[in-house]
Each structure stands twice: as C-alpha cells, then as structure tokens.
C-alpha cells in the first residue's frame, strides 16, 4: 500500500487518448471482462456452484427499464442486456460458495458481476486488547481491497468507511448473546471491484484533474452516454461522497453467508441490494457506468424472512414515490438473493454430510 503511487518513481497507467483508463470501457470491453472472467472462472479452480438466480431477472428487468428511455445513449448496454434476456447469460450471474478459506472458522466467496469478494470469519475467539468485560459478544469487521481491485491501482484503500458500514449492517442480525466475552472477526477482501467507486474517489482533492478528465470523457462519449447530464451536475453528485457502491452490498451478503458457515447464530441471513435512480428510472444492482451518471442511490440491507431492515442508505436526489418504489425493488431482490444464499448453504451442508 505504501508503494501505491508516489513511492518509487511516479507511474501512471497508460490511458487511452481520451483520458479514461480503458478505451473500450464503453464499447467492447463492456461485454468482454464479464464474459471472459466468468467463462474461465467456472470450470477452473474456483469451481463455483452456479446459481442462475431469480434476482438476475429483477436485474434485467431493472436494467431494461433504463434500456427503454436511455437506449439511445446506452447502446452497448442494451445489447448486452438483451443478449442476457435471450438466454446467453454470461455476465451478472450470481455465485456464492462457502468454505473458500480453510484456515477460517467460516468463509464465503461471492462473485456478482465483476465484483469478487472473499469473506473469512474467525472466532468466536478471545477478545484482543484490554477490552472491558462484556456479557455479550463483540463483532469486529474489516474490509480491505487488493491493490488491483480497482481500475486505478491502489485506490481501494480509500474505502475506510466500508468496515463500519459492514459492522452496522450485520450487528443487528447476529445473536451476540450467544458468545459472551468473546469476539467474532469478519474480514472481507475485495479481489475485484465492479469499479463503481473509482470515479468518485477521484473527486476528492483533485477537483481540477477530475474536471479535466470529465471534460475529456464527455467529449468522447458525448452523444453516447452523458449527453444530457451537465458537467456541473456530475461533479456535484461526485461530492455526495459516501455513496454506496456496487461492492458493499456484495460484501455484506457474502459476510452473512460466511457467518452462517462459521456457525454463528443469527436471526436471519442478511441480504443487501442497491438501486440507482436516473431521473425517472430505477436500476437495480448498478455498475460503474450506471453509477457514474446516477442521480441518487439507495441501499437496503435486510433480513428477508423477518422483514426487518438492518441498514438503509439513501443519497442523492429522490422523490418520495421513487424512494418507495426503490425500496420495494430492493426488498424483493433481497428476498430472492436470500433464497439463493440459503440454497448455497443447504448445498454445502448436504455436501459435507455425504
């Protein structure tokens, strides 16, 4: 982490002529990284169980929603989505697998879209440091990123708030009374991020550079993408800062699966889903390209079988009916996601019994 950029000789990633890192990000690469990653991942080492999820349908539905109005500037997106609808689904298949890390008491691996996350759970074990006596258990969460998780190297470490958000999201679901005096550690490592937060990170302290980049990006994608979003607005939404990004919901869902794998008592599995708002439309489980031009975002973390919410984050511009609609979308998707997670656990349990 120390060698992030400024350490030895200053380096930069060769950007395409437009100033953004990957030129085909909005073109062919949009399909490729997804398609390739999945194609090769599944039969190989990770040997993940494949869950063709129902929540995928809601994703596709949601995305089609923008496909309608924004088809003009999201050309490649809609092709991808349509191809998804027609069955050749490579991108956005949900994978969950428990028992990814043998050294941990419980662990889970999740691969949703481009986001790849491993969560390990250790404990309940002795509380470290001179902690005051507590007759309920403690939960300790940490989220870190690999240096190559983000398109620009080493930017994942900017997300310190994730650890706290994960803690808050899980706290309410765990029956802390079952492990008094001890600590359960939940550690997450984001292997690859959907990239959704990187542009926002650039927004801090580097305003001028960001503006240049945005201008260049606008010139390039002009008619394709951002055409009706004035520059000012983009920058403004960049400063909303604590926006939820595509990674956090995955981290949270994956962490609850790892907790279940470790045998930590919970009231229910915790599932998390986010939604982006684009003027009139809602897109579920947004990715980089979508989040970059969103007006607002909403993330719900809930325990679907109890119909209880453990965390709710709303940022940006929302109207009341839109919030209602967005919450409903999220809750539905959470319920579906929890179903997939549960089936993953069942499968793991029946595998181990054999």
């Amino acid at each position: 982490m120390a060698d992030k950029g400024g350490a030895t000789p200053a380096t930069y990633s060769p950007s395409p002529t437009t100033g953004r890192k990957k030129p085909p990000l909005l073109k062919e690469d949009w399909i490729r990284p997804d398609g390739r990653g999945f194609h090769q991942c599944r039969p190989a080492l990770l040997d993940m169980h494949r869950f063709l999820s129902d929540s995928k349908c809601s994703r596709i539905d949601g995305a089609l929603l923008i496909g309608g109005s924004a088809k003009r500037h999201l050309g490649p997106v809609s092709t991808r989505i349509t191809s998804g609808v027609h069955g050749s689904v490579q991108p956005d298949i949900d994978f969950f697998r428990t028992g990814a890390v043998n050294a941990a008491s419980g662990s889970a691996y999740a691969e949703i879209g481009n986001t790849k996350v491993i969560v390990s759970v250790f404990g309940p074990r002795e509380s470290k440091k001179a902690m005051i006596y507590s007759d309920i258990g403690r939960l300790n969460c940490n989220v870190s990123f690999t240096t190559f998780a983000t398109p620009v190297r080493g930017q994942g470490s900017d997300h310190k708030e994730y650890s706290t958000m994960l803690h808050k999201a899980l706290e309410g679901a765990i029956i802390l009374e079952t492990f008094p005096k001890t600590t359960v550690d939940v550690f997450a490592l984001v292997l690859e991020s959907s990239g959704s937060h990187t542009s926002r990170c650039l927004g801090f302290g580097k305003r001028s550079q960001l503006e240049i980049m945005l201008c260049e990006a606008l010139l390039l994608i002009d008619s394709m993408f951002l055409c009706n979003v004035p520059l000012q607005e983009v920058i403004a939404s960049d400063n909303i800062s604590e926006c939820v990004s595509g990674d956090l919901p995955v981290v949270i869902s994956c962490a609850s699966l790892a907790l279940a794998d470790a045998g930590i008592m919970m009231y229910d599995l915790v599932a998390s889903v986010s939604v982006s708002c684009f003027s009139k439309n809602l897109v579920i489980d947004p990715i980089l390209e979508e989040e970059n031009c969103q007006d607002g975002s909403l993330m719900i973390t809930c325990m679907p079988s109890r119909y209880e919410i453990t965390q709710l984050t709303v940022t940006g511009e929302w109207s009341t009916p839109k919030i209602n609609e967005g919450m409903q979308l999220c809750l539905d998707a959470c319920a579906k996601l929890a179903k997939i997670m549960r089936s993953c656990l069942k499968e793991a349990a029946s595998d181990s019994q054999e």
Binding site: P23, D34, N142, T147, L189
Partner: protein, 301 residues
Amino acid sequence: MGVPNASEDLSSEMEVDAFRRLFPLRFFERHLAESIRPDGRPLGKARETSIFLGAVASANGSALVKIGSTTMLTAIKMEVMTPSLEAPDEGCLAIDFHMPPICSPIVRPGRPAEASPVVSKQLSDTISSSRMIDLKDLSLVSGKAAWMAYLDVYCLDADGALFDAALLSAVAAISNLEIPAVAMNDDGKIVLVSDEDGQKRAQEPVNKEKRKLTLRSIPFSLTCILHKNYILADPTAEEESIMETHVTIVLDTSGQLISLYKPGGPVLAYTSAIQDCVAITRQRVKELKSFLDKENSAMEV
C-alpha cells in the same frame, strides 16, 4: 472434551484427536515411522496443485494457484514510468506479497504478518536473480518511458509452503502477462491503442501489438522440512509449526540452482540431506513446469 459414554470408535477417534493436539510431535513421529503423513501423503510428495490463469480480468496478467489449501492470487498491472538515468532502457518489476487478514487466524488487520515481508523479499530476489525477465523487454522509449510492472501476490488461504505457492503464482502470472499496445502522444505521454479506433493511428505506436514477454527460464521452488532423518516435502501449516527446520530450494527449468534458503532451525542440514532435497525439488520442478505449460497452451486455444 471427554466423551465417556460415546460408542467405541468415536471415543477412539477422540483419543487420536486429543493425542494430536496434546503431543503433536509424537503424533507426527508415529506417522513418519510408517513413512506416511497424517494427510495420507508419502513423505516426499507435494500436495495437489492447480493453476488458473487470467483470474483477474482487469489485470494485464494474473493467476490463481492452489497447493493443497494454500491459495495465492497474483495480478500484474502495467503502468508507465520514466526510467532512471542509470538504466534508461530498462523497465522495472515491483513485487509485493500481501497476507490480508482473511488468510489466517494469526493475521489481524493493521498488524501485518511477520512472514509477509520475508516472502516478499524472497520473491523479488528469486525472480530478479533467476533472470527470468529481461528488464530491457519492459522498455518503451529509451530514457523517456518504460513499463513499471506491479506484481502483487495475495495469500487467500495460508496453509504452509507460502513461498512455493507465491512463487508459482507469480511466475504463472508473468507467463500470462500481456503487454498492451501503446503509443506516445504529442505530450510525451503513453496512451493505449485500441484495435478499433484506426483513426487514432496518427501517433507513433511504441509497442505495436499486444505481446507476451519472452521468458528465459522459469524458477520453481519446493520447501522441505528436515526432521531427524526425514525429509517432508511441501509442508502444511500444522507441520511447519511443529517441525521447525525448513529448506527452500529454487531451481529453474534447466535444473540450475537459483536459491537455497535455510533459515536456521534446530536440525543441521548435511550434504546428503541437501542433495536429497534438491533431487525432490528437481522432480517437482518438472511437474510444475508441465502444469504451467498445460495451462498456458490451454489459454492459447
């Protein structure tokens, strides 16, 4: 955990388990006397190994390697730097080894594992002294621009023989590395050239096509435990913690010795023991090379 009323075989199982925990060394020695290890391996056999290339889509080269349950993920990202005055036509390879808290119960956030800087140093020493990569290969424009290859190895699951797995994943990622096609623009900045935009051919391409590095020789390693007269190849974390004398031998594909590392330990290494270790390593290197070649040719198809 006493289970007095449990059925016969369960109680005997508990006893074995208890014995293993209470007298780990005696437990292992009993196995070693029978020339077998608790996980069913013969002494000189490494664990099952698998390599998966291109695991990280956003990186220029990547590999996921599993040796037993030890798992390593390596990704290489290529960035551009101004080469130093001393070596104007050489690029640079920066190797880093990370042990995030997910990989082992002994690593806590904020407190890096003791082993990680050691393995990190060993890795970069091994790769640079094996002369696997010609740094001139990473040059772009002499004196103006060269590649800086950031190679990051992440340990996802630590179960012994960390260096072996880390080295294997590093070399696998290097063999998977594809240098992107770039050009230098008017400001002297290096920019990517994508295949589609033919109209941008105005700039002079520095690296016309995506290319792979030519690797001169590939280093592979094997760690062995020396205990009394026994040599145990590819130890698990449990074995490493009980028997403390390790020898790590790195050979390249032509069988040349690249490094030999014996960080102390109570057992002295006699010539014959070292020779035996080298012989086992030689065997292992062949095996690893064929694994890697197989994966690489599968990638090309």
